[in-house]
C-alpha cells in the first residue's frame, strides 16, 4: 500500500486569506459608498424625469445647428489664442516655480541615502542645514498645490483685474506646486547606482545631479510637463468662468444668454485644442524617449 499523504486541506496557507484589516477596510469602504449615495442626494428619478428630459431637449434643440457663422468664428480667434497663451505661459511659469523647488525637495539629493552617508556622518548641524531648504520647499510646494487653481484665479483677479494675466498666474502657481512635487518624486526614483559611481569620482552633489539624475529623469520630466500643459488648457477654460479670459469666458457668456449653439461650437474648439496638444506631446515624447 502506498504511503498516504496528508490531505492538502490540513496544510495551512499563510496569507492566502485577506487579513482582518483588509476585510474590515472593504466593509467600511462599501458602507461609505452606500452612505454617500444618500448624503449626496443621488436621485436618478430627477435625472430621468419628464421635466429633466424636457430641459435637456431645449438644450439639445438649441444646440443644433451649432453656431458656425463666419462672424462668430472670426470673433472666436482671439479668445482661442488667449486660451492657448494662458495655458502655455501658465505652464512656463509653473516650470520656473516647480523645477527649482522640486530639485530642492528631492530627499536623495538633499540629505538622505548613500550620497550623504559618509559626508554627513557625525555632523548634525550640517545635516540640519541641508534639511532646512528641503523642508521649506516641500512646505511651499504643498501650499501651492493644495489651493485649487480656481481659488488662486479668484485671488489674482482681485489683485490684477479681469483678463488673461490672473489666469496665467493661477495656473503657474497651482501647477508649479504639482510639477515640483512630481519632479522631486521622479528624481528620487532614478537608479541610484550611477549616482554613487559619479560621486565616487569626487564629483559634487550638483555635478552628480546634472550628470546622473537629469539624464535619467529627462523623458519622465518632459512627458509629465506636457501632460500638465494639456491639463492647463482645460483649466484655463474653467478659469474663464471667473473672469480670467480665454474661451471659458465666452462659454460662460453664451451659457448665460441661453445660446447653446455657440456653447457647442466653443466646446468643439476646446476638444480640438486638447486633442492637438495630445498629438503634439506624443510626437515630442517619441523624440526624447
Amino acid at each position: 500500500m502506498p504511503p498516504t499523504t496528508p490531505a492538502p486541506a490540513a496544510v495551512p496557507f499563510p496569507g492566502s486569506r485577506p487579513s482582518r484589516f483588509a476585510r474590515l477596510f472593504a466593509l467600511l469602504f462599501g458602507l461609505t459608498t452606500v452612505a454617500s449615495w444618500w448624503a449626496a442626494r443621488v436621485d436618478l428619478s430627477t435625472l430621468f424625469s419628464r421635466e429633466a428630459f424636457r430641459n435637456a431637449l431645449v438644450f439639445v434643440a438649441g444646440a443644433f445647428p451649432p453656431a458656425l457663422s463666419q462672424d462668430f468664428l472670426l470673433f472666436l480667434v482671439r479668445p482661442t489664442l488667449e486660451t492657448v497663451q494662458i495655458s502655455l505661459l501658465g505652464t512656463a511659469v509653473a516650470l520656473v516655480i516647480g523645477f527649482p523647488l522640486g530639485v530642492l525637495a528631492t530627499a536623495s539629493l538633499a540629505h538622505a541615502g548613500p550620497l550623504h552617508e559618509l559626508d554627513l556622518s557625525g555632523r548634525p548641524v550640517r545635516r540640519l542645514l541641508r534639511f532646512i531648504p528641503y523642508g521649506l520647499s516641500r512646505a511651499l510646494l504643498s501650499l501651492f498645490r493644495s489651493v485649487p487653481e480656481l481659488v488662486w484665479a479668484l485671488v489674482f483677479v482681485r489683485a490684477t483685474g479681469l483678463g488673461p494675466f490672473p489666469g496665467v498666474l493661477a495656473i503657474g502657481v497651482a501647477y508649479g506646486g504639482i510639477l515640483g512635487k512630481v519632479y522631486s518624486e521622479i528624481f528620487e526614483a532614478v537608479d541610484a547606482r550611477p549616482l554613487e559611481a559619479l560621486q565616487a569620482t569626487g564629483a559634487s552633489r550638483w555635478r552628480v545631479f546634472w550628470y546622473g539624475m537629469v539624464p535619467q529623469a529627462f523623458p519622465h520630466l518632459v512627458s509629465y510637463t506636457l501632460y500638465r500643459w494639456e491639463c492647463a488648457i482645460r483649466a484655463s477654460a474653467i478659469l474663464g468662468f471667473v473672469g480670467a479670459g480665454g474661451i471659458g469666458q465666452q462659454i460662460e457668456i453664451s451659457m448665460r444668454m441661453f445660446n447653446f449653439g455657440e456653447v457647442v461650437t466653443l466646446i468643439g474648439i476646446l476638444v480640438l485644442m486638447v486633442a492637438g496638444t495630445d498629438a503634439l506631446s506624443l510626437r515630442l515624447r517619441r523624440r526624447v524617449l
Binding site: 496544510v11 548613500p114 552617508e117 559618509l118 559626508d119 556622518s121 557625525g122 555632523r123 550640517r126 537608479d191 547606482r193 550611477p194 554613487e196 559611481a197 559619479l198 560621486q199 565616487a200 569620482t201 569626487g202 564629483a203 559634487s204 550638483w206 555635478r207 552628480v208 546634472w210 550628470y211 546622473g212 539624464p215 535619467q216 529627462f218 523623458p219
Partner: protein, 271 residues
C-alpha cells in the same frame, strides 16, 4: 595606501558584511581579493572608495582617516580613487563620451560640467581612453545600446580619464568572455605597473587572479581568511575558502575537492 583596523560594516537587519577586518595595502601594490559570493567583497570596496561609513573600526586612505573626511576634503580623497563597478553603473541614457568624461567631474567646476553636457569638452582625451580599451568607434553611441562587455570598457575608460592614484575594480570581467577578461585584467595590471597606481580588484576567476597578481587575499564572511603570494595558494587553501559555497565559474576545480553531496546540496524534502 590603505590601512584598516577592525573595519566593520553592519547593514540594517544585523547583517555583518565586513567583520573586524585588518588590512594594509602599500602604494603601487597590485592585490586581488577572491572569495565566495556574499563574502563582503563589494561592501569592502564601497568602504575603500569612501562611499559607506564604517560601523566600527578605522580606515585610512593615503594617511588620512576616512572618518575625518567631509565636504571638500572627502571629494579630494574620492578624486584619487577610481572605481570600476561590477554593474558598470554608467548613466544609461547619456552618450558614451559623457560617461567617459564623467571621470573628470572631480576636477571640473559645475558650470564647466554642465556646459560639457551641451557641447563636450576634452573629447580628444575621451577618444584616447576609448581607443586604449578598444572601442574608439563608440564615442557618440548611446551607452545603453552597448553590450555588457562594451559598457565594462566604457567604465574603465572613465577611470582612465579620472587618472586616480588607486584603482578599485569590483569584478571588472564578470560580463565579458574569458579571452576578453584576460585582456582587461592585463590592461589594468599594465596601467598599474606603468604608472605606479595601486590596483585592487575583486575577481571571480581564481585562475586569472593567481596568474596576474602578486598578492592574493581570500575573503570569507567579511574576514580575511588568507593573505598570500599566488605560489603559496594551495588547493586546500581554496577549498577552505569556498567550502559549502555554491559553485560558480572557474573556481569549480577547487570546489570539487571539498564537494560533499551530503552537506548542503541535498534536495529539500517534499512536504
Amino acid at each position: 595606501m590603505y590601512r584598516a583596523e577592525g573595519l566593520t560594516k553592519v547593514f540594517p537587519g544585523a547583517i555583518r558584511a565586513v567583520d573586524g577586518l585588518d588590512l594594509k595595502i602599500g602604494s603601487g601594490e597590485r592585490v586581488a581579493f577572491i572569495g565566495p559570493s556574499g563574502a563582503g567583497k563589494t561592501t569592502l570596496f564601497r568602504l575603500l572608495n569612501c562611499t559607506l561609513k564604517p560601523t566600527a573600526g578605522r580606515l585610512w586612505v593615503a594617511g588620512q582617516e576616512v572618518e575625518h573626511l567631509h565636504g571638500a576634503s572627502l571629494r579630494a580623497a574620492r578624486r584619487r580613487i577610481g572605481t570600476i563597478y561590477q554593474q558598470h553603473n554608467l548613466v544609461p541614457r547619456l552618450p558614451v563620451v559623457h560617461n567617459v568624461l564623467a571621470g573628470r567631474l572631480g576636477t571640473w567646476s559645475t558650470p564647466r560640467a554642465v556646459l560639457s553636457l551641451a557641447r563636450p569638452v576634452e573629447v580628444e582625451a575621451a577618444h584616447r581612453a576609448l581607443h586604449q580599451v578598444g572601442i574608439p568607434e563608440k564615442l557618440y553611441a548611446r551607452t545603453d545600446e552597448l553590450s555588457g562587455g562594451q559598457q565594462q570598457r566604457v567604465a574603465i575608460a572613465r577611470v582612465l580619464l579620472q587618472d586616480p592614484d588607486i584603482i578599485l575594480a569590483d569584478e571588472p570581467v564578470s560580463s565579458v568572455d574569458p579571452t576578453l577578461a584576460a585582456g582587461i585584467v592585463h590592461l589594468l595590471t599594465d596601467i598599474s605597473r606603468a604608472t605606479g597606481k595601486t590596483l585592487v580588484v575583486n575577481l571571480h576567476s581564481v585562475d586569472l587572479a593567481l596568474a596576474s597578481f602578486p598578492r592574493i587575499i581570500g575573503l570569507r564572511d567579511g574576514r580575511v581568511l588568507f593573505d598570500l603570494a599566488p605560489q603559496a595558494v594551495r588547493d586546500e587553501t581554496l577549498a577552505a575558502l569556498y567550502a559549502g559555497a555554491p559553485m560558480t565559474g572557474p573556481a569549480e576545480g577547487a570546489l570539487n575537492a571539498s564537494y560533499d553531496p551530503g552537506s548542503s546540496c541535498r534536495p529539500l524534502p517534499r512536504v
